[in-house]
């Protein structure tokens, strides 16, 4: 069964929120459970960022123990390096999956660490956007899917330096085809990529396989300047750039298999994020993720 058949077996999760180890213990951080209490449609699921060296924190465990929906966002695997999918790491993934019972795995398909996976090695860089990068990354996605029995959705990472001659949407389109998988589009990451390259927000969308799009991320960003070089910082604030909203609205209107929307705002207090969730809901009203038909 290929992905466009398999996608119909995936649950529709709706609007959710993300977290990672320790985020919930920071002063002023969003409590997903409180968000869910205010409006169950805002905190319909929790996307848990997992770096296995740190494990799962008490908040993620508590959420999962209530049987509430989750997705597993990896933070520690270079998908194109077969050595990264070693037996120990896969065993730890299996343990975390057993706790979270996620609907799928997802995460930035880039470089999560330099050298081997080790202390002090962690970072996040985009993939090399060339044709030669597609096959090894697709192989990693397929291997992780086979090992876990869960769909693995690659996400377009952020960055200020993108190396390669493919547009990032072309790269991820080819990657999804090669791995026969679905996609996670981070709309804020895409907006910053487009801005960095002087493109319109929707450049490249015409060739992007929106029918493979299962999840999107929406987040605030801010413009920074370094020696006259301007770029958008993916700060997960509550001010969403106009270009990001254009991408969100385009996806809402054209992605027939969209199942989940994560509003990334984990470092903001509840009262600050409620208007953002309401705005996302309003702009995505026609999407199947909220029960509509594009």
């Amino acid at each position: 069964m290929d992905f466009l058949d398999r996608v119909h077996t995936l649950p529709t999760l709706g609007l959710g929120v993300s977290t990672e180890y320790g985020a919930g213990d920071q002063p002023g951080a969003l409590d997903p459970q409180s968000l869910r209490a205010v409006d169950p449609g805002f905190g319909a699921f929790l996307e848990v960022g997992v770096e296995l060296a740190k494990g799962l924190d008490r908040h993620a465990r508590a959420w999962a123990s209530r049987g509430q929906p989750t997705t597993y966002h990896f933070l520690d695997v270079n998908l194109d390096e077969p050595e990264d999918l070693d037996a120990d790491w896969l065993a730890q993934v299996a343990e975390a999956v057993a706790v979270l019972r996620p609907a799928w795995l997802c995460g930035d398909a880039g470089m999560w660490h330099i050298g081997r996976r080790d202390r002090g090695h962690m970072l996040l860089l985009p993939p090399i956007l060339i044709e030669e990068q597609v096959a090894p990354m697709a192989a990693g996605i397929a291997a992780l899917r086979a090992a876990t029995g869960l769909e693995v959705l690659p996400e377009n990472p952020p960055g200020t330096a993108f190396v390669g001659d493919l547009h990032i949407l072309d790269f991820f389109g080819r990657l999804a085809e090669a791995a026969d998988t679905g996609l996670l589009l981070d709309c804020a990451h895409l907006a910053l990529y487009q801005q960095l390259h002087g493109h319109d927000a929707l450049t490249g969308m015409d060739g992007f396989p929106l029918d493979r799009l299962v999840e999107i991320h929406v987040a605030g960003g801010s413009v920074s300047d370094h020696q006259g070089f301007r770029w958008v910082e993916d700060d997960h604030g509550t001010v969403v750039l106009d270009d990001t909203w254009r991408i969100v609205e385009h996806v809402a209107a054209h992605a027939p298999n969209l199942k989940a929307v994560v509003v990334e705002c984990e470092r903001n207090p509840l009262e600050a994020v409620l208007p953002l969730f309401a705005e996302v809901r309003r702009r995505m009203a026609g999407s199947p993720v909220l029960g509509g038909t594009p």
């Binding site: 330099i114 090695h121 090399i128 990068q133 330096a161 001659d165 920074s224």
Partner: protein, 253 residues
């Protein structure tokens, strides 16, 4: 012509950590990169590589945290220089470890204390080469050091206090590396169940035998090495079985 993804990825990581390498890439051909690959890197606005002004500082901080006394000997600049070295390039290209490879790189300047802190870092990681045979338990690092280095380490570690990074960043003067004594200390660096690492003593023969088995060895080879270290025939098996019983040696199938 096919372009090498790993070479590009490693160059990208190096560009983000080393402003001098940015200039090198823009100046002309670079060993390990084809001209097509270099052209892809040069197509990026060079200012884009330094938008995170603290990336290299964070990497330096991580090394100081793992090897504080070594850092006290070579100074913050001596740690920072690693990120402009070919050794850092090899961490990227050979799936190396920053802490372990830094310790090896810096030992000629820092002396044997770098080897001691490297053993602590290695015990913390608990890694061994794959393969069947008898192997020293991951988390146990046998170590032979010149006399006096352990005492120097203990004194300096205490002097650095609870926050060595802050102490060194505040301009604490570099300390002289210890003058090696004539004798030798034979040590076992061991990670405990809670993850804490302790340094203890062992007999020279025991430490040498466990050093031999830090890579997997056959039982016959291990027994032969025990005899070379002075065990009488018959006693060799007794020693090896004793180490297996204590859990200092483990059997890999």
């Amino acid at each position: 012509m096919s372009r090498n993804v790993a070479a590009l990825r490693n160059a990208m990581a190096r560009l983000l950590h080393d402003p001098a390498f940015v200039e090198t890439v823009h100046a002309g051909p670079v060993a390990g990169l084809s001209e097509a690959e270099r052209a892809l890197l040069c197509a990026v606005d060079r200012r884009a590589w330094s938008t995170d002004r603290y990336r290299r500082s964070r990497a330096v901080q991580a090394l100081i945290e793992e090897l504080p006394v070594t850092a006290a000997v070579v100074g913050v600049e001596g740690v920072d220089a690693f990120f402009s070295s070919e050794a850092f390039g090899r961490v990227l290209s050979q799936r190396g470890s920053l802490a372990l490879d830094f310790a090896r790189w810096v030992e000629p300047r820092a002396g044997a204390v770098a080897r001691l802190e490297r053993a602590v870092a290695a015990a913390r990681r608990g890694e061994r080469a794959p393969g069947p045979g008898l192997v020293t338990r991951p988390g146990v690092e046998p170590l032979l050091l010149p006399e006096g280095v352990l005492a120097f380490y203990a004194a300096q570690r205490q002097a650095l206090g609870a926050d060595p990074v802050a102490a060194l960043a505040a301009g604490r003067p570099r300390v002289e590396r210890p003058v090696p004594g004539a004798g030798e200390d034979s040590l076992l660096v061991e990670r405990g169940a809670e993850g804490q690492v302790q340094v203890g003593g062992g007999s020279p023969a025991l430490v040498r035998l466990l050093a031999f088995t830090t890579v997997p060895r056959s039982r016959d080879a291990t027994l032969a090495h025990a005899r070379r270290l002075g065990c009488a025939p018959g006693e060799d098996a007794e020693v090896v079985d004793g180490l297996l019983g204590e859990g200092l040696l483990v059997v890999r199938v």
